[in-house]
Protein backbone atom coordinates (compact mmCIF):
# COMPACT_ATOMS: atom_id res chain seq x y z
CA UNK A 1 0.00 0.00 0.00
CA UNK A 2 1.69 3.21 -1.05
CA UNK A 3 1.59 6.25 1.19
CA UNK A 4 0.08 8.44 -1.55
CA UNK A 5 -3.08 6.48 -1.08
CA UNK A 6 -4.24 8.63 1.84
CA UNK A 7 -4.55 12.39 2.00
CA UNK A 8 -6.13 14.66 4.60
CA UNK A 9 -9.38 16.32 3.50
CA UNK A 10 -8.98 19.28 5.82
CA UNK A 11 -8.87 18.53 9.54
CA UNK A 12 -12.04 16.43 9.61
CA UNK A 13 -11.70 14.10 6.67
CA UNK A 14 -9.47 11.65 4.81
CA UNK A 15 -9.48 10.87 1.10
CA UNK A 16 -8.58 7.28 0.26
CA UNK A 17 -7.47 6.77 -3.32
CA UNK A 18 -8.38 3.36 -4.75
CA UNK A 19 -7.01 3.73 -8.28
CA UNK A 20 -6.02 6.20 -10.98
CA UNK A 21 -8.65 6.14 -13.71
CA UNK A 22 -12.31 5.55 -14.41
CA UNK A 23 -12.28 1.79 -14.74
CA UNK A 24 -14.31 -1.14 -13.47
CA UNK A 25 -11.64 -2.43 -11.09
CA UNK A 26 -11.15 0.92 -9.37
CA UNK A 27 -14.88 1.38 -9.17
CA UNK A 28 -15.31 -2.00 -7.49
CA UNK A 29 -12.61 -1.19 -4.94
CA UNK A 30 -14.26 2.17 -4.19
CA UNK A 31 -17.59 0.43 -3.71
CA UNK A 32 -16.13 -2.34 -1.56
CA UNK A 33 -14.52 0.11 0.87
CA UNK A 34 -17.46 2.53 0.93
CA UNK A 35 -19.94 -0.26 1.63
CA UNK A 36 -17.79 -1.84 4.30
CA UNK A 37 -17.37 1.48 6.14
CA UNK A 38 -21.06 2.26 5.83
CA UNK A 39 -22.02 -1.11 7.19
CA UNK A 40 -19.44 -1.09 9.97
CA UNK A 41 -18.56 2.53 10.76
CA UNK A 42 -15.91 2.94 13.45
CA UNK A 43 -15.89 5.47 16.27
CA UNK A 44 -15.92 9.08 15.09
CA UNK A 45 -17.08 8.49 11.51
CA UNK A 46 -19.65 11.03 10.33
CA UNK A 47 -20.19 9.96 6.73
CA UNK A 48 -18.66 8.26 3.71
CA UNK A 49 -18.71 9.79 0.23
CA UNK A 50 -17.55 7.64 -2.71
CA UNK A 51 -16.08 9.39 -5.78
CA UNK A 52 -14.81 8.14 -9.16
CA UNK A 53 -11.54 6.82 -7.75
CA UNK A 54 -11.71 7.86 -4.10
CA UNK A 55 -13.59 7.28 -0.88
CA UNK A 56 -13.90 10.29 1.41
CA UNK A 57 -14.20 9.50 5.10
CA UNK A 58 -15.55 12.37 7.21
CA UNK A 59 -14.87 12.09 10.94
CA UNK A 60 -15.35 14.15 14.06
CA UNK A 61 -11.93 14.97 15.58
CA UNK A 62 -13.54 16.43 18.70
CA UNK A 63 -15.30 13.18 19.50
CA UNK A 64 -11.99 11.36 19.15
CA UNK A 65 -10.19 13.87 21.38
CA UNK A 66 -12.84 13.25 24.00
CA UNK A 67 -11.94 9.56 23.82
CA UNK A 68 -8.37 10.50 24.68
CA UNK A 69 -6.93 10.20 21.16
CA UNK A 70 -4.12 12.71 20.78
CA UNK A 71 -3.93 13.01 17.00
CA UNK A 72 -7.30 12.01 15.50
CA UNK A 73 -6.01 11.99 11.90
CA UNK A 74 -3.36 9.39 12.67
CA UNK A 75 -5.83 7.29 14.58
CA UNK A 76 -8.38 7.28 11.72
CA UNK A 77 -5.57 6.56 9.25
CA UNK A 78 -4.44 3.54 11.25
CA UNK A 79 -8.04 2.30 11.52
CA UNK A 80 -8.51 2.61 7.77
CA UNK A 81 -5.29 0.75 7.02
CA UNK A 82 -6.37 -2.02 9.36
CA UNK A 83 -9.78 -2.28 7.67
CA UNK A 84 -8.33 -2.16 4.17
CA UNK A 85 -6.03 -5.05 4.91
CA UNK A 86 -9.16 -7.18 5.35
CA UNK A 87 -10.83 -5.89 2.18
CA UNK A 88 -11.42 -8.73 -0.29
CA UNK A 89 -9.31 -8.43 -3.45
CA UNK A 90 -12.30 -8.57 -5.75
CA UNK A 91 -15.70 -7.55 -4.56
CA UNK A 92 -18.75 -9.66 -5.10
CA UNK A 93 -20.66 -8.38 -8.09
CA UNK A 94 -24.12 -7.58 -6.87
CA UNK A 95 -25.04 -4.44 -8.80
CA UNK A 96 -28.71 -3.54 -9.06
CA UNK A 97 -30.06 -2.75 -12.51
CA UNK A 98 -32.40 0.24 -12.43
CA UNK A 99 -34.60 0.88 -15.43
CA UNK A 100 -35.40 4.53 -16.19
CA UNK A 101 -38.32 5.14 -18.59
CA UNK A 102 -37.59 8.02 -21.01
CA UNK A 103 -39.84 9.81 -23.48
CA UNK A 104 -37.36 10.86 -26.17
CA UNK A 105 -37.58 13.82 -28.57
CA UNK A 106 -40.30 16.45 -29.22
CA UNK A 107 -40.62 19.10 -26.49
CA UNK A 108 -38.93 16.81 -23.92
CA UNK A 109 -35.81 16.40 -26.08
CA UNK A 110 -35.38 19.62 -28.07
CA UNK A 111 -31.74 18.73 -28.88
CA UNK A 112 -32.30 15.16 -30.11
CA UNK A 113 -31.97 16.42 -33.70
CA UNK A 114 -28.71 18.25 -32.82
CA UNK A 115 -27.20 15.04 -31.43
CA UNK A 116 -28.32 13.11 -34.52
CA UNK A 117 -26.97 15.66 -37.01
CA UNK A 118 -23.69 16.04 -35.12
CA UNK A 119 -23.07 12.30 -35.34
CA UNK A 120 -24.53 11.65 -38.81
CA UNK A 121 -27.35 9.53 -37.38
CA UNK A 122 -31.13 9.64 -37.48
CA UNK A 123 -32.98 10.58 -34.24
CA UNK A 124 -34.26 7.00 -34.01
CA UNK A 125 -30.71 5.67 -34.17
CA UNK A 126 -29.68 8.02 -31.36
CA UNK A 127 -32.57 6.73 -29.23
CA UNK A 128 -31.67 3.12 -29.99
CA UNK A 129 -27.98 3.59 -29.13
CA UNK A 130 -28.75 5.60 -25.98
CA UNK A 131 -31.26 3.06 -24.68
CA UNK A 132 -29.32 -0.09 -25.58
CA UNK A 133 -26.37 0.75 -23.39
CA UNK A 134 -26.00 -0.26 -19.75
CA UNK A 135 -24.55 2.58 -17.68
CA UNK A 136 -22.63 2.43 -14.43
CA UNK A 137 -23.36 4.95 -11.67
CA UNK A 138 -19.87 6.02 -10.60
CA UNK A 139 -21.00 8.51 -8.02
CA UNK A 140 -23.83 10.84 -7.04
CA UNK A 141 -23.02 14.54 -6.84
CA UNK A 142 -23.57 17.99 -8.32
CA UNK A 143 -27.24 17.94 -7.23
CA UNK A 144 -29.40 15.67 -5.03
CA UNK A 145 -29.60 12.30 -6.75
CA UNK A 146 -27.62 13.35 -9.86
CA UNK A 147 -25.78 10.27 -11.19
CA UNK A 148 -22.40 10.49 -12.88
CA UNK A 149 -22.92 7.74 -15.46
CA UNK A 150 -20.14 5.91 -17.25
CA UNK A 151 -20.32 3.85 -20.43
CA UNK A 152 -21.98 6.07 -23.02
CA UNK A 153 -21.52 4.94 -26.63
CA UNK A 154 -18.96 7.03 -28.53
CA UNK A 155 -21.30 7.27 -31.52
CA UNK A 156 -23.53 9.79 -29.72
CA UNK A 157 -20.87 12.03 -28.13
CA UNK A 158 -22.01 15.65 -28.58
CA UNK A 159 -20.45 18.85 -27.21
CA UNK A 160 -22.40 20.91 -24.69
CA UNK A 161 -24.47 23.84 -25.90
CA UNK A 162 -22.43 27.03 -26.33
CA UNK A 163 -25.06 28.91 -24.30
CA UNK A 164 -26.37 26.98 -21.30
CA UNK A 165 -30.11 27.02 -20.64
CA UNK A 166 -31.17 28.92 -17.54
CA UNK A 167 -33.87 26.42 -16.62
CA UNK A 168 -33.84 22.72 -17.33
CA UNK A 169 -36.90 20.85 -16.03
CA UNK A 170 -36.48 18.06 -13.51
CA UNK A 171 -36.22 14.63 -15.16
CA UNK A 172 -34.50 15.91 -18.31
CA UNK A 173 -32.09 13.43 -19.87
CA UNK A 174 -29.13 14.97 -21.64
CA UNK A 175 -25.75 14.45 -23.25
CA UNK A 176 -22.76 16.63 -22.39
CA UNK A 177 -19.62 15.61 -24.24
CA UNK A 178 -18.89 11.97 -23.39
CA UNK A 179 -21.37 11.89 -20.54
CA UNK A 180 -25.07 11.31 -20.24
CA UNK A 181 -27.19 12.04 -17.21
CA UNK A 182 -30.51 13.03 -15.71
CA UNK A 183 -31.28 16.35 -14.03
CA UNK A 184 -33.05 15.39 -10.77
CA UNK A 185 -34.16 18.94 -9.93
CA UNK A 186 -34.79 21.98 -12.07
CA UNK A 187 -31.42 23.61 -12.70
CA UNK A 188 -29.48 25.63 -15.23
CA UNK A 189 -27.28 23.56 -17.54
CA UNK A 190 -25.54 23.23 -20.87
CA UNK A 191 -26.26 19.61 -21.83
CA UNK A 192 -28.05 18.63 -25.04
CA UNK A 193 -31.51 17.51 -23.98
CA UNK A 194 -32.77 14.36 -25.69
CA UNK A 195 -35.69 13.27 -23.51
CA UNK A 196 -37.35 13.29 -20.13
CA UNK A 197 -38.23 10.72 -17.50
CA UNK A 198 -41.39 10.82 -15.37
CA UNK A 199 -39.46 8.90 -12.68
CA UNK A 200 -38.51 10.96 -9.64
CA UNK A 201 -34.81 10.57 -8.88
CA UNK A 202 -34.94 12.09 -5.45
CA UNK A 203 -37.48 11.98 -2.61
CA UNK A 204 -36.77 13.88 0.58
CA UNK A 205 -39.08 11.57 2.48
CA UNK A 206 -37.38 8.44 1.14
CA UNK A 207 -34.73 6.34 2.87
CA UNK A 208 -32.44 6.35 1.00
CA UNK A 209 -33.70 9.55 -0.64
CA UNK A 210 -31.91 8.92 -3.94
CA UNK A 211 -33.35 6.45 -6.47
CA UNK A 212 -29.84 5.71 -7.73
CA UNK A 213 -26.74 4.94 -5.72
CA UNK A 214 -23.10 4.62 -6.66
CA UNK A 215 -22.54 1.10 -8.00
CA UNK A 216 -25.97 0.74 -9.65
CA UNK A 217 -26.40 -0.08 -13.33
CA UNK A 218 -28.84 2.04 -15.32
CA UNK A 219 -30.83 1.23 -18.45
CA UNK A 220 -33.05 3.71 -20.28
CA UNK A 221 -36.35 2.39 -21.67
CA UNK A 222 -38.00 4.43 -24.46
CA UNK A 223 -41.65 5.20 -23.72
CA UNK A 224 -44.46 7.05 -25.53
CA UNK A 225 -45.90 10.36 -24.43
CA UNK A 226 -49.05 8.55 -23.28
CA UNK A 227 -47.03 6.21 -21.08
CA UNK A 228 -45.02 9.20 -19.80
CA UNK A 229 -48.17 10.88 -18.52
CA UNK A 230 -49.49 7.63 -17.08
CA UNK A 231 -46.24 7.00 -15.16
CA UNK A 232 -46.02 10.63 -14.11
CA UNK A 233 -49.45 10.32 -12.51
CA UNK A 234 -48.41 7.13 -10.73
CA UNK A 235 -45.15 8.61 -9.46
CA UNK A 236 -46.50 11.82 -7.95
Amino acid sequence: MDSDQFAPLGDSGIIVKMGDGIDQKTHEKVQALARLLQKHPFEGIIEIVPGFTTVAVFYDPIRLFHLGIEFPYNWVLAKLKEIMATLPETSVKDARVVEIPVCYGKEFGPDLEVVAVHNGLTPDEVIRIHSETEYLVHMIGFAPGFPYLGGMDERIITPRRSTPRLKIPAGSVGIGGEQTGIYPIESPGGWQLIGRTPQRLFRYEGEPPSLLQAGDLVRFRPISLVEYHKLEGADS
Binding site: P8, V49, G51, F202, Y204, P208
Partner: protein, 335 residues
Protein backbone atom coordinates in the same frame (compact mmCIF):
# COMPACT_ATOMS: atom_id res chain seq x y z
CA UNK B 1 -45.56 31.64 20.53
CA UNK B 2 -44.42 33.09 17.27
CA UNK B 3 -42.67 35.96 15.53
CA UNK B 4 -43.97 37.85 12.54
CA UNK B 5 -41.57 38.94 9.82
CA UNK B 6 -42.21 42.65 9.17
CA UNK B 7 -39.09 42.99 6.98
CA UNK B 8 -37.06 39.94 5.94
CA UNK B 9 -33.58 41.50 5.70
CA UNK B 10 -31.13 40.61 2.95
CA UNK B 11 -30.68 36.86 3.31
CA UNK B 12 -32.38 35.56 6.43
CA UNK B 13 -32.80 31.80 6.74
CA UNK B 14 -33.41 29.15 9.35
CA UNK B 15 -30.32 27.01 10.00
CA UNK B 16 -29.02 24.42 12.39
CA UNK B 17 -25.59 22.77 12.48
CA UNK B 18 -26.14 21.12 9.06
CA UNK B 19 -27.40 18.08 7.22
CA UNK B 20 -24.96 15.20 7.53
CA UNK B 21 -25.04 11.68 6.15
CA UNK B 22 -26.51 12.47 2.74
CA UNK B 23 -23.57 13.90 0.80
CA UNK B 24 -23.23 10.50 -0.86
CA UNK B 25 -26.62 11.24 -2.48
CA UNK B 26 -25.58 14.73 -3.60
CA UNK B 27 -27.32 16.53 -0.73
CA UNK B 28 -25.33 19.54 0.44
CA UNK B 29 -24.51 20.03 4.14
CA UNK B 30 -25.91 23.59 4.59
CA UNK B 31 -26.14 24.84 8.18
CA UNK B 32 -24.79 27.84 10.07
CA UNK B 33 -21.86 29.61 8.40
CA UNK B 34 -20.44 30.52 11.83
CA UNK B 35 -21.15 27.39 13.89
CA UNK B 36 -19.58 28.83 17.06
CA UNK B 37 -21.87 31.87 17.18
CA UNK B 38 -24.83 29.64 16.29
CA UNK B 39 -24.16 27.18 19.12
CA UNK B 40 -23.52 29.89 21.70
CA UNK B 41 -26.75 31.71 20.75
CA UNK B 42 -28.69 28.53 21.53
CA UNK B 43 -26.83 27.91 24.80
CA UNK B 44 -27.56 31.49 25.93
CA UNK B 45 -31.31 30.86 25.77
CA UNK B 46 -31.10 27.46 27.45
CA UNK B 47 -31.58 25.42 24.25
CA UNK B 48 -29.66 22.34 23.21
CA UNK B 49 -26.89 23.78 21.03
CA UNK B 50 -28.34 22.47 17.74
CA UNK B 51 -31.82 24.04 17.86
CA UNK B 52 -32.96 25.74 14.65
CA UNK B 53 -32.22 29.49 14.73
CA UNK B 54 -32.25 32.47 12.35
CA UNK B 55 -29.16 33.37 10.36
CA UNK B 56 -29.06 36.97 9.15
CA UNK B 57 -26.54 38.45 6.74
CA UNK B 58 -25.47 42.12 6.32
CA UNK B 59 -29.02 43.45 6.77
CA UNK B 60 -31.10 41.77 9.44
CA UNK B 61 -34.87 41.29 9.66
CA UNK B 62 -37.50 43.33 11.48
CA UNK B 63 -39.60 41.06 13.70
CA UNK B 64 -42.70 41.43 15.82
CA UNK B 65 -42.94 39.20 18.90
CA UNK B 66 -46.13 37.43 19.83
CA UNK B 67 -45.72 36.31 23.43
CA UNK B 68 -42.82 37.01 25.83
CA UNK B 69 -39.70 35.29 24.48
CA UNK B 70 -36.12 34.79 25.54
CA UNK B 71 -33.67 35.38 22.67
CA UNK B 72 -29.94 35.87 22.07
CA UNK B 73 -28.08 37.33 19.10
CA UNK B 74 -24.51 36.12 18.50
CA UNK B 75 -21.94 36.62 15.76
CA UNK B 76 -21.40 39.86 13.85
CA UNK B 77 -22.50 43.09 15.55
CA UNK B 78 -25.75 44.46 14.14
CA UNK B 79 -27.39 47.79 14.97
CA UNK B 80 -30.22 45.83 16.59
CA UNK B 81 -32.87 47.69 18.56
CA UNK B 82 -36.11 46.77 20.31
CA UNK B 83 -38.75 49.49 20.07
CA UNK B 84 -35.92 51.92 19.28
CA UNK B 85 -33.65 50.87 22.18
CA UNK B 86 -30.29 49.41 21.17
CA UNK B 87 -29.64 45.85 22.37
CA UNK B 88 -26.28 44.09 22.76
CA UNK B 89 -25.08 40.74 21.36
CA UNK B 90 -23.88 37.61 23.21
CA UNK B 91 -26.47 38.01 26.02
CA UNK B 92 -29.88 36.57 26.81
CA UNK B 93 -32.66 39.11 26.31
CA UNK B 94 -36.27 38.77 27.38
CA UNK B 95 -38.45 40.36 24.72
CA UNK B 96 -41.98 41.34 25.71
CA UNK B 97 -45.08 40.40 23.82
CA UNK B 98 -45.83 42.91 21.07
CA UNK B 99 -42.31 44.36 20.90
CA UNK B 100 -40.66 45.01 17.56
CA UNK B 101 -37.02 44.01 17.05
CA UNK B 102 -35.26 45.73 14.17
CA UNK B 103 -31.91 44.03 13.55
CA UNK B 104 -30.62 46.80 11.29
CA UNK B 105 -27.30 46.65 9.48
CA UNK B 106 -24.13 44.81 10.31
CA UNK B 107 -21.49 47.06 11.87
CA UNK B 108 -18.80 44.47 12.53
CA UNK B 109 -18.52 41.03 10.93
CA UNK B 110 -20.96 39.76 8.33
CA UNK B 111 -23.72 37.63 9.85
CA UNK B 112 -25.38 36.78 13.14
CA UNK B 113 -27.66 34.17 14.70
CA UNK B 114 -30.81 34.81 16.64
CA UNK B 115 -31.83 31.92 18.84
CA UNK B 116 -35.25 31.70 20.48
CA UNK B 117 -35.86 29.78 23.72
CA UNK B 118 -37.48 26.55 22.52
CA UNK B 119 -36.12 26.91 18.98
CA UNK B 120 -37.86 27.55 15.67
CA UNK B 121 -40.63 25.09 15.00
CA UNK B 122 -39.86 23.78 11.51
CA UNK B 123 -39.86 20.17 10.31
CA UNK B 124 -36.77 18.02 9.94
CA UNK B 125 -35.82 17.17 6.36
CA UNK B 126 -33.21 14.40 6.11
CA UNK B 127 -32.29 14.89 9.75
CA UNK B 128 -31.82 18.66 9.72
CA UNK B 129 -33.83 21.89 9.74
CA UNK B 130 -31.31 23.87 7.71
CA UNK B 131 -32.66 25.71 4.66
CA UNK B 132 -31.60 24.21 1.32
CA UNK B 133 -32.70 26.95 -1.05
CA UNK B 134 -31.79 25.36 -4.37
CA UNK B 135 -33.83 22.26 -3.59
CA UNK B 136 -36.55 24.28 -1.88
CA UNK B 137 -36.60 22.19 1.31
CA UNK B 138 -35.71 22.58 4.97
CA UNK B 139 -35.92 25.71 7.11
CA UNK B 140 -39.04 27.80 6.55
CA UNK B 141 -40.65 26.44 3.36
CA UNK B 142 -37.21 25.88 1.86
CA UNK B 143 -36.61 29.55 1.19
CA UNK B 144 -35.40 32.92 2.46
CA UNK B 145 -37.76 34.59 4.90
CA UNK B 146 -40.34 36.94 3.37
CA UNK B 147 -42.42 39.78 4.70
CA UNK B 148 -45.53 38.42 6.40
CA UNK B 149 -44.07 35.02 7.37
CA UNK B 150 -45.28 33.77 10.76
CA UNK B 151 -42.52 31.77 12.45
CA UNK B 152 -43.68 29.40 15.14
CA UNK B 153 -41.46 28.94 18.19
CA UNK B 154 -41.47 25.71 20.18
CA UNK B 155 -42.30 25.51 23.87
CA UNK B 156 -39.19 26.45 25.91
CA UNK B 157 -37.68 23.69 28.08
CA UNK B 158 -36.87 23.87 31.79
CA UNK B 159 -33.39 25.41 31.27
CA UNK B 160 -34.86 28.22 29.20
CA UNK B 161 -37.59 28.86 31.72
CA UNK B 162 -35.06 29.16 34.54
CA UNK B 163 -32.96 31.67 32.54
CA UNK B 164 -36.12 33.57 31.71
CA UNK B 165 -37.12 33.57 35.36
CA UNK B 166 -33.91 35.44 36.21
CA UNK B 167 -34.91 38.26 33.84
CA UNK B 168 -38.62 38.59 34.51
CA UNK B 169 -40.14 40.08 37.60
CA UNK B 170 -39.22 43.74 37.70
CA UNK B 171 -39.49 46.21 34.79
CA UNK B 172 -42.61 44.55 33.49
CA UNK B 173 -43.49 47.55 31.38
CA UNK B 174 -40.26 47.71 29.41
CA UNK B 175 -40.25 46.23 25.90
CA UNK B 176 -37.26 44.05 26.80
CA UNK B 177 -34.91 43.09 29.61
CA UNK B 178 -31.21 42.45 28.89
CA UNK B 179 -29.15 40.13 31.10
CA UNK B 180 -26.32 41.79 33.05
CA UNK B 181 -23.90 39.06 31.96
CA UNK B 182 -22.57 37.89 28.59
CA UNK B 183 -20.27 35.34 26.96
CA UNK B 184 -16.76 36.47 27.74
CA UNK B 185 -14.87 37.74 24.72
CA UNK B 186 -11.85 35.56 25.42
CA UNK B 187 -13.96 32.45 24.87
CA UNK B 188 -14.78 33.57 21.32
CA UNK B 189 -12.87 33.13 18.04
CA UNK B 190 -10.53 36.07 17.30
CA UNK B 191 -12.98 37.59 14.86
CA UNK B 192 -10.77 40.65 14.30
CA UNK B 193 -7.91 38.60 12.91
CA UNK B 194 -7.50 38.71 9.15
CA UNK B 195 -4.97 35.89 9.04
CA UNK B 196 -6.61 32.57 8.38
CA UNK B 197 -4.79 29.31 9.12
CA UNK B 198 -4.57 26.89 6.20
CA UNK B 199 -3.53 23.23 5.94
CA UNK B 200 -1.79 22.70 2.56
CA UNK B 201 -3.95 20.62 0.23
CA UNK B 202 -3.20 17.58 -1.95
CA UNK B 203 -2.24 19.69 -5.00
CA UNK B 204 -0.30 22.36 -3.08
CA UNK B 205 3.05 21.06 -4.33
CA UNK B 206 1.87 21.15 -7.92
CA UNK B 207 1.63 24.94 -7.91
CA UNK B 208 4.70 26.88 -9.03
CA UNK B 209 7.21 27.89 -6.39
CA UNK B 210 6.24 31.55 -6.92
CA UNK B 211 2.52 30.76 -6.49
CA UNK B 212 3.09 28.69 -3.35
CA UNK B 213 5.03 31.60 -1.92
CA UNK B 214 2.52 34.23 -2.97
CA UNK B 215 -0.38 32.17 -1.62
CA UNK B 216 0.93 32.74 1.91
CA UNK B 217 2.32 36.23 1.33
CA UNK B 218 -0.31 38.15 -0.58
CA UNK B 219 -3.58 39.65 0.61
CA UNK B 220 -6.68 38.37 -1.16
CA UNK B 221 -9.81 40.44 -1.73
CA UNK B 222 -13.16 38.86 -0.99
CA UNK B 223 -15.21 39.64 -4.11
CA UNK B 224 -18.91 40.51 -4.29
CA UNK B 225 -19.55 37.04 -5.76
CA UNK B 226 -19.19 35.51 -2.29
CA UNK B 227 -22.05 33.84 -0.48
CA UNK B 228 -23.01 30.80 1.58
CA UNK B 229 -21.81 28.54 -1.24
CA UNK B 230 -18.33 29.94 -1.42
CA UNK B 231 -16.05 32.94 -1.13
CA UNK B 232 -14.51 33.95 -4.44
CA UNK B 233 -11.20 35.66 -3.83
CA UNK B 234 -9.22 37.90 -6.10
CA UNK B 235 -5.48 38.41 -6.06
CA UNK B 236 -2.33 37.63 -7.96
CA UNK B 237 -3.25 34.52 -10.00
CA UNK B 238 -2.01 31.16 -8.67
CA UNK B 239 -0.45 28.96 -11.32
CA UNK B 240 0.12 25.23 -11.59
CA UNK B 241 3.43 23.84 -12.84
CA UNK B 242 1.37 22.12 -15.52
CA UNK B 243 -2.37 21.74 -16.16
CA UNK B 244 -4.05 19.06 -14.05
CA UNK B 245 -6.98 16.87 -15.01
CA UNK B 246 -8.71 15.80 -11.83
CA UNK B 247 -11.74 13.61 -11.31
CA UNK B 248 -14.59 14.84 -9.13
CA UNK B 249 -14.37 13.83 -5.51
CA UNK B 250 -15.71 14.91 -2.15
CA UNK B 251 -14.88 18.39 -0.87
CA UNK B 252 -15.36 19.93 2.55
CA UNK B 253 -16.15 23.30 4.14
CA UNK B 254 -13.02 25.42 3.94
CA UNK B 255 -11.60 23.68 0.87
CA UNK B 256 -9.66 26.28 -1.15
CA UNK B 257 -9.88 25.28 -4.78
CA UNK B 258 -8.19 27.04 -7.68
CA UNK B 259 -9.94 27.01 -11.09
CA UNK B 260 -7.94 27.68 -14.24
CA UNK B 261 -8.14 31.47 -13.87
CA UNK B 262 -5.89 31.16 -10.80
CA UNK B 263 -8.34 32.94 -8.44
CA UNK B 264 -9.04 30.84 -5.34
CA UNK B 265 -12.53 29.93 -4.11
CA UNK B 266 -13.14 29.00 -0.47
CA UNK B 267 -15.99 26.49 -0.32
CA UNK B 268 -18.49 27.22 2.43
CA UNK B 269 -21.56 25.47 3.87
CA UNK B 270 -23.80 25.54 0.77
CA UNK B 271 -21.06 24.09 -1.48
CA UNK B 272 -21.81 21.26 -3.86
CA UNK B 273 -20.85 17.89 -2.44
CA UNK B 274 -18.13 17.18 -5.00
CA UNK B 275 -15.54 19.20 -6.89
CA UNK B 276 -12.86 18.68 -9.47
CA UNK B 277 -10.57 21.72 -9.19
CA UNK B 278 -7.06 21.56 -7.72
CA UNK B 279 -7.15 22.00 -3.94
CA UNK B 280 -4.34 24.26 -2.78
CA UNK B 281 -5.38 24.06 0.87
CA UNK B 282 -8.04 23.76 3.55
CA UNK B 283 -9.02 26.43 6.05
CA UNK B 284 -8.51 25.00 9.54
CA UNK B 285 -12.02 24.32 10.90
CA UNK B 286 -11.24 26.45 13.95
CA UNK B 287 -10.91 29.52 11.66
CA UNK B 288 -14.07 28.93 9.58
CA UNK B 289 -16.08 31.27 11.88
CA UNK B 290 -13.57 34.04 11.18
CA UNK B 291 -13.96 33.57 7.41
CA UNK B 292 -17.76 33.47 7.81
CA UNK B 293 -17.60 36.88 9.51
CA UNK B 294 -15.61 38.48 6.66
CA UNK B 295 -17.68 40.32 4.11
CA UNK B 296 -17.18 41.08 0.43
CA UNK B 297 -14.74 43.94 -0.07
CA UNK B 298 -12.57 42.92 2.89
CA UNK B 299 -9.16 41.29 2.68
CA UNK B 300 -7.78 38.08 4.09
CA UNK B 301 -4.42 36.37 4.10
CA UNK B 302 -3.33 32.83 4.80
CA UNK B 303 -0.84 31.31 7.19
CA UNK B 304 0.27 27.70 7.14
CA UNK B 305 -0.71 25.37 9.96
CA UNK B 306 0.12 21.71 10.46
CA UNK B 307 -2.81 19.29 10.52
CA UNK B 308 -2.14 18.19 14.08
CA UNK B 309 -1.99 21.78 15.32
CA UNK B 310 -5.23 22.52 13.49
CA UNK B 311 -6.97 19.63 15.23
CA UNK B 312 -5.57 20.68 18.62
CA UNK B 313 -6.73 24.26 18.07
CA UNK B 314 -10.19 22.96 17.24
CA UNK B 315 -10.27 20.95 20.44
CA UNK B 316 -9.12 23.99 22.42
CA UNK B 317 -12.00 25.98 20.89
CA UNK B 318 -14.37 23.19 21.92
CA UNK B 319 -13.16 23.50 25.49
CA UNK B 320 -13.92 27.24 25.35
CA UNK B 321 -17.46 26.49 24.23
CA UNK B 322 -17.77 23.95 27.04
CA UNK B 323 -16.59 26.56 29.55
CA UNK B 324 -19.25 28.95 28.25
CA UNK B 325 -21.89 26.22 28.47
CA UNK B 326 -20.84 25.38 32.01
CA UNK B 327 -20.96 29.06 32.99
CA UNK B 328 -24.50 29.36 31.65
CA UNK B 329 -25.48 26.23 33.62
CA UNK B 330 -24.16 27.82 36.81
CA UNK B 331 -26.12 31.02 36.22
CA UNK B 332 -29.22 29.00 35.44
CA UNK B 333 -29.05 27.18 38.73
CA UNK B 334 -28.58 30.31 40.85
CA UNK B 335 -31.57 31.46 42.77
Amino acid sequence: MSVEVLQPGLCTTIQDIGRYGYQQYGVIVSGAMDPVAFRLANLLVGNPENEAALEMTLIGPKLKFNGDQLIAICGGEFSAAIDGKRIPSWRPILVRDGSVLECGHVEKGCRAYMAFAGGMDVPYVLGSRSTYIRAGVGGYKGRLLKKGDQLQVKQPKANSLRLRGLLSGKHLNEPCKVADWRISEHLLPSYESSTIRVIPGPQFDQFTFASRKSFFEQEFFITQASDRMGYRLSGKALELEQPLELLSEAVTAGTIQVPSDGQPIILMVDRQTTGGYPKIGFIASVDIPIVAQRKPGEKICFKEIHLQEAQQALFKRERMINIAAHGIDLIESRK
